[in-house]
């Protein structure tokens, strides 16, 4: 298992598109490949970038998108930014959290879904916005948000298709 992880990390590190390879760029590549930063690759990133394990931890702990724990199978982000707030983001958040059975950000007990607040998903003109595994869904309502949660609970990743 660890060997396979290391190979996958190695591939992610070597397939970066840009020339400027840094601790941050490597961590973004690893997170893209795994959905989180497996702890056992931290020394690998350090070695690859000629930095220290402390440097790598420093970067992981600074940027709020990084996590060293595996997320749920799907990630549901609820935008929490100003435009969305004004158009009822808190009600969307409430509806989502209640439906999943969480008090705040976190992963459902069945490991199916991780809920996160995002500070702005970039589609403010169609607020309130949520995203499911990076796919944006605007003009959200609390009821529709419940439908989305239901779809995530019941359907496997590839079939996820939410129509309003």
């Amino acid at each position: 298992m660890p060997q396979r992880v290391r190979e996958k990390v190695d591939l992610a590190l070597r397939s970066q598109r840009q020339h400027t390879i840094t601790v941050l760029s490597c961590l973004l590549a690893v997170q893209d490949a795994f959905g989180y930063i497996p702890k056992l690759c931290i020394d690998q990133v350090a070695k690859f970038t000629g930095s220290t394990v402390n440097d790598v931890w420093g970067v992981i702990s600074f940027y709020t998108n990084f996590s060293v724990n595996p997320p749920g199978e799907h990630i549901l982000e609820v935008c929490w930014g100003t435009s969305c707030h004004i158009l009822g983001a808190m009600d969307i958040a409430k509806s989502v959290l209640e439906e999943i059975g969480l008090d705040n950000e976190g992963t459902s007990s069945d490991g199916r879904v991780t809920v996160r607040f995002n500070t702005c998903l970039g589609a403010c003109a169609n607020a309130p916005v949520v995203s499911v595994d990076h796919k944006l869904e605007g003009r959200m309502t609390p009821d529709q948000a419940k439908v989305i949660v239901g779809a995530i609970k019941n359907i496997v990743a590839e079939d996820l298709d939410i129509e309003s």
Binding site: T22, E105, G122, A125, E137
Partner: protein, 569 residues
């Protein structure tokens, strides 16, 4: 490969002419981030599917946005012998009837039309430029948005693209380029409104090498999406502006800095870069001028402060995005310790048109010291939300009541939140304020990067202020204590006011915390971070006092409150 501009242009023109004047149909689907959030991808794939099944001669292209986000998904169709037509609010299930009617019968589906381009026979269809949201626009940086396929170098070349770069490299010295930008009066659109020509001259004058030019598309401001939308709609405009900036300042490498996770602006920027390399507009000896220039995209993690110029350089270097002490300034000691210039996406996207039409042309547009246009993101309780580009000098009333179409809820607009989380609120009784950097700052609501969020009379200002300060607190990088502890202190006070536990000294206490933050913080985050509170107190101080004196008061419709966890790991 050395690019020959004339040859490239000829090839691009003929491709373009075939698209818009040929025998087939060209279907453009507005598919920027906000189009995607309205379901553009489903509409595009339904078009592809139907067209394939019926074996029609039609090309479907996902483009950026015309800016009318409220009517997304937008479908823009060019067909032989018909006016170019934009359909709005299109759902996948509408696609078969659009195809039957528009593509096959040649009859417009009137009830779904947002507007047509130019004249139409009976004049019974609205001209898109007469739409209230479009009427007063002057699209310079956004001129290709929604028209061209983002990143497609031929589409860009066919629409004035790289003509400015060709002219600059063939006929102008770097000094002349800086002078032209100075004459245009162009000021930075990233927030500080610093004269762009002056900034370029600082870098041009720096002795050491290599030099770098960076494009700031961090755009963490909630309510602002204009930078991402430019990259999503027409990344070549930015790229051309960046290459010209490199030539003018003597830089040899550019970075486009974007937050990870916004997939389409990132992928479309890469596509623009790749295609520019392919035709020889990036790389060595561009247009045979001897000028070499390279560009790449640099991604950052989630951090608002990473948009601050010195933190941005730390982030490109792969470190924690902590602002640096200044001096030394970036023009002396920037990225990797080398001379560096940082500009916002919008700022650089103006540059090609300025170089084509002259600095004077640009400086004749606008108002006072604010030259050119403002690229604004309208969101919140407005009828017409989206992206607009208007000359400086309009009143906010014009912007909100006409261009934005007024309130969408039936309740009157109460306030505008402008300039992002470090900006401020402005009461709707001050809509006489003119759209101008100076006038907006005087009114307490900075223009910042162009986000304008309108809120109706149901909104509690105290709740809104709490939400904004919660953002600022969450995003404080923690390097300097006036910001780190000041933001936490402000949030604590606002949280207790919101739950009815405020005390009569709390307003004074916030002011004193704010004064310390302004005076003592290392970067703009802490220096400006009291703006949301001070502007809210300026216009709606009574609301804070009422909430403190009457703890049982109803806290508007946003009584529910969540905020991101501080420790998420």
């Amino acid at each position: 490969m050395r690019a020959d501009f004339k040859e490239l242009k000829m090839k691009a023109d003929s491709l373009w002419d075939r698209l818009i004047g040929g025998q087939g149909h060209w279907i453009r689907i507005g598919s920027d981030l906000s189009g995607q959030s309205a379901g553009s991808e489903g509409v595009a794939s339904r078009f592809e599917q139907e067209i394939g099944q019926r074996n029609l001669k039609a090309i479907v292209t996902e483009v950026g946005t015309l800016g009318l986000c409220f009517a997304e998904p937008l479908v823009d169709i060019v067909s032989p012998n018909m006016p170019r037509t934009v359909y709005g609010n299109v759902k996948p299930e509408d696609v078969p009837s659009i195809i039957d009617s528009h593509l096959i019968k040649g009859v417009l589906l009137k009830e779904m039309v947002v507007g047509v381009f130019g004249q139409n026979e009976n004049n019974d269809l609205p001209d898109i430029f007469q739409h209230p949201m479009m009427k007063d626009q002057l699209r310079i940086a956004l001129r290709n948005a929604g028209h061209v396929e983002p990143g497609n170098v031929n589409h860009y070349l066919a629409n004035d693209g790289y003509a400015a770069l060709h002219k600059v490299l063939k006929t102008m010295t770097p000094e002349e380029v800086c002078e032209e930008i100075l004459e245009s009066g162009l000021r930075g659109r990233g927030g500080a409104a610093f004269p762009t020509g002056t900034k370029w001259k600082f870098l041009a004058g720096a002795k050491s090498s290599p030099k770098y030019v960076l494009v700031n598309c961090e755009e963490g401001d909630p309510g602002a999406f204009n930078d991402k939308t430019i990259l999503d709609s027409d990344p070549h405009s930015l790229l051309e502006g960046l290459i010209i900036c490199g030539y003018a300042t003597g830089a040899t490498k550019g970075y486009i800095f974007i937050r990870h996770g916004h997939d389409s602006p990132i992928n479309r920027s890469w596509r623009a870069i790749d295609e520019a390399y392919e035709v020889g507009i990036l790389g060595t000896d561009i247009f045979g001028s001897g000028f070499d220039f390279d560009v790449e995209v640099s991604l950052t993690g989630d951090s608002y402060v990473a948009g601050e110029e010195t933190a941005l350089m730390e982030s490109i270097e792969g470190k924690r995005a902590l602002p640096r002490y200044r001096p030394p300034f970036p023009a002396q000691f920037g990225l990797f310790g080398k001379p560096t210039n940082i500009n916002n996406v919008k700022t650089l996207s103006y540059v090609p048109q300025i170089m084509l039409n002259g600095g004077k042309w640009f400086s004749d547009i606008g108002y006072g010291k604010s030259k050119g246009t403002a690229i604004l993101c309208l969101s919140g309780h407005l009828k017409y939300t989206g992206l607009v580009e208007v000359p400086f000098g309009l009143t906010l009333r014009h912007l909100i009541d006409d261009i934005g179409g007024g309130s969408s809820t039936g309740n009157p607009i109460k306030l505008l939140q402008t300039g992002g989380p470090l900006g401020g609120v402005i009461s709707s009784d001050r809509l006489d304020v003119i759209l101008d950097f100076e006038a907006m700052s005087e009114a307490g609501a900075i223009l910042g990067s162009g986000g304008i969020v309108a809120a109706d009379s149901d909104i509690s200002v105290v709740d809104l202020t709490r939400s904004i300060i919660a953002f600022c607190q969450y995003e404080s990088c923690g390097k300097c204590f006036p910001c780190r502890s000041g933001m936490s202190h402000l949030l604590e006070i606002l949280e207790r006011i919101c739950v009815g536990e405020g005390s009569s000294q709390d307003i004074e206490l916030m002011r004193s915390v704010g004064t310390n933050m302004q005076a003592g913080s290392l970067c703009g985050h802490g220096q400006l971070g009291f703006n949301p509170v001070s502007s809210a107190l300026q216009y709606f101080g009574a609301e804070f006092e009422d909430m403190i004196s009457d703890p049982n008061r109803d806290n508007g419709r946003n009584a529910t409150w969540y905020s991101p966890l501080r420790t998420r790991r």
